[in-house]
């Protein structure tokens, strides 16, 4: 492998890793802050992708507007979903959480089938992000992928800013370490959790909306994303956003270079990495607390 190809593969790895981070950050927030195993997280990713498909004809090239509207809709949906279902789960054990969220996956898939059908659909990238630039003499790199990576980085920075530097972030961090104390201090923990959940759903939907032009929308697209997300969250440390970032990039590299050197065994590589991390550092790479 010559230098040019190696650098391009690194670029591929980083881009994949960043998109993974965007999806996984929502999961780690919900899992880490609220202690809820949310198997339906992949369905929220799918929701975002199908939202992008549904909103595309209305917004045309106003891509950023479409993203904002989609995220807002997803956040409202997440808020209502938490109020209706998840708020009952905090006191329950993990098995019941798994059962409820698994049922939600099935419900969402059927709803998708009824509302949109089972065909594969393409989502066009906005024309101002079309085309690409040449990477040496090798191949073209689409501008849209650069935009996707940049968007993920912006979200990562925004997440860091909110969680570390704002009052809301402080309450989230406090609620994660000691729920009852926070309640005793007069903070409405239920509303706080509702906001965090809505935020997690919005992040997953945003990831789906950004990924839609790259991956197109098709039935069951949430399933494979979900599993990789859990791998990322476990490797990075449950509840740690920095951990999710580091783990996503690691997974991106293992997946990309694994494909080049190990062909179909690359699928094993990611889980091997997770197993090694679990043996060496069971709490994950970063400690809870960002």
């Amino acid at each position: 492998m010559d230098l040019a190809t190696f650098l391009v593969q690194c670029l591929n790895a980083v881009q994949y890793g960043l998109l993974l981070f965007l999806v996984a950050s929502g999961l780690t927030l919900i899992f880490g802050i609220m202690g809820v195993i949310n198997l339906a997280h992949g369905s929220f990713y799918m929701l975002g992708a199908y939202l992008a498909f549904a909103l595309a004809p209305w917004f045309g090239d106003w891509f950023v507007t479409r993203l904002v509207v989609g995220v807002a809709l997803a956040a409202i949906f997440g808020y209502l979903l938490e109020w209706a279902f998840f708020s009952f789960l905090y006191e329950r054990d993990h098995l019941q959480q798994v059962l409820l969220t698994y049922a939600l996956i099935l419900v969402f898939e059927e709803l998708r089938s009824l509302l949109v059908g089972n065909d594969v659909h393409g989502v066009p990238a906005p024309s101002w992000l079309g085309g690409g630039f040449r990477l040496g003499g090798l191949m073209e790199y689409p501008w849209y992928r650069v935009f996707a990576s940049a968007a993920c980085l912006v979200v990562a920075l925004a997440l860091y800013a909110v969680v570390q530097k704002t009052r809301l972030g402080m309450m989230i961090r406090a609620g994660a370490s000691n729920r009852d104390m926070v309640r005793g201090l007069g903070v409405d923990i239920r509303r706080l959790y509702r906001i965090v959940f809505a935020g997690g759903v919005a992040l997953a939907a945003l990831a789906g909306m950004i990924a839609a032009p790259l991956s197109s929308v098709y039935p069951n697209m949430g399933a494979s994303v979900l599993i990789i997300c859990f791998v990322v969250v476990v490797i990075g440390g449950i509840g740690s956003i920095t951990g999710a970032l580091v783990a996503s990039l690691l997974v991106g590299f293992v997946d990309t270079f694994g494909k080049v050197f190990f062909a179909e065994w690359s699928g094993v590589g990611i889980y091997l990495l997770m197993a090694i991390v679990l043996i060496w550092r069971p709490e994950g790479l970063m400690k809870r607390g960002f």
Partner: protein, 279 residues
């Protein structure tokens, strides 16, 4: 399912599943297929690629039976024409992150690429291939499944792509025209290769029933008649091999707009080699 039908001597007409094994080691007089074997379109594409002067090709697919059987067919067809496959790229099913392998293809610079994907993976691969600018320098070939039912989603990325399949939407024959018209009136949609296969599965069964006058107890006569009677299909006339697979013309199609249009016959009356079948 083929194994269950074989063990229980149940009559089984297969309208789609392309696994080579069904008319290979699993073949049985009571099992007939009206569709294709994974090997057939792949082999035909390999022959076409060889005729176009492709000397070094790469294949890419998921690591599962349908993918490997299809690419093996392509490799056989290409080698007949004097070319060879330099590398078989695979990724775990149903992984759709192709960037790493597209970069590999760009680095190796083969004369052509043969890809087998279906559904969401097919849409993503064709789009990613075009987004990487590879379709300008390295032609992408594939079986019809790469572009069947996916053209609306693939859009400009798939235009002018050549694929091989045992059917093309605009075959101008009386049978195909009347079939397409009747289908559109009955179901308010355009038929595709899967509709044709289903229709032919029923025709094959009907041929058998006609020969025994509706008497299902004459099983041996029934299955023999199902195999021996040529089928007048919207795809063209085809016969059925001893192993139970269609011996059919494989067409070369080109993507134009939202259709796969017929260009030429890639291989006439192609029979699956039915390796491992003891009939």
């Amino acid at each position: 399912m083929a194994k269950a039908a074989k063990d229980n001597n149940t009559l089984l007409v297969i309208p789609n599943a392309g696994a080579d094994a069904i008319t290979g080691p699993m073949c049985s007089p009571n099992i007939v297929r009206s569709s294709f074997s994974n090997w057939q379109p792949g082999y035909a594409m390999g022959v076409v690629a060889g005729q176009k002067g492709v000397k070094r090709a790469m294949t890419i697919t998921w690591a599962y039976a349908a993918g490997t059987e299809s690419t093996k067919g392509f490799t056989e067809g290409l080698e007949k024409g004097g070319g060879k496959v330099t590398k078989d790229l695979t990724l775990p099913f149903p992984n759709v992150e192709f960037q790493a392998l597209l970069t590999e293809i760009a680095a190796q610079k083969p004369d052509a690429v043969y890809a087998f994907f279906a559904g969401g993976g097919a849409v993503k691969f064709v789009k990613d291939y075009a987004a990487a600018g590879l379709n300008k320098t390295i032609p992408l070939y594939g079986p019809g499944f790469l572009t069947d039912g996916t053209l609306e989603a693939q859009g400009a990325a798939a235009q002018n792509m050549l694929t091989t399949l045992h059917y093309a939407d605009n075959l101008d024959t009386p049978k195909n025209n009347s079939f397409r018209k009747a289908y559109a009136i009955a179901y308010k949609a355009q038929p595709d290769v899967y509709a044709v296969q289903g229709y032919d599965a029923a025709q094959i069964l009907a041929n058998g029933l006609k020969a025994v006058g509706g008497d299902l107890s004459k099983r041996d006569q029934l299955t023999a008649a199902m195999r021996k009677t040529p089928v007048d299909s919207p795809r063209g006339k085809f016969t059925i091999s001893t192993a139970g697979n269609p011996v059919q013309d494989i067409y070369l199609r080109e993507v134009k707009g939202n259709n796969n249009e017929f260009r030429s016959v890639a291989v006439k009356a192609l029979a699956d080699p039915a390796r491992g079948c003891k009939l």
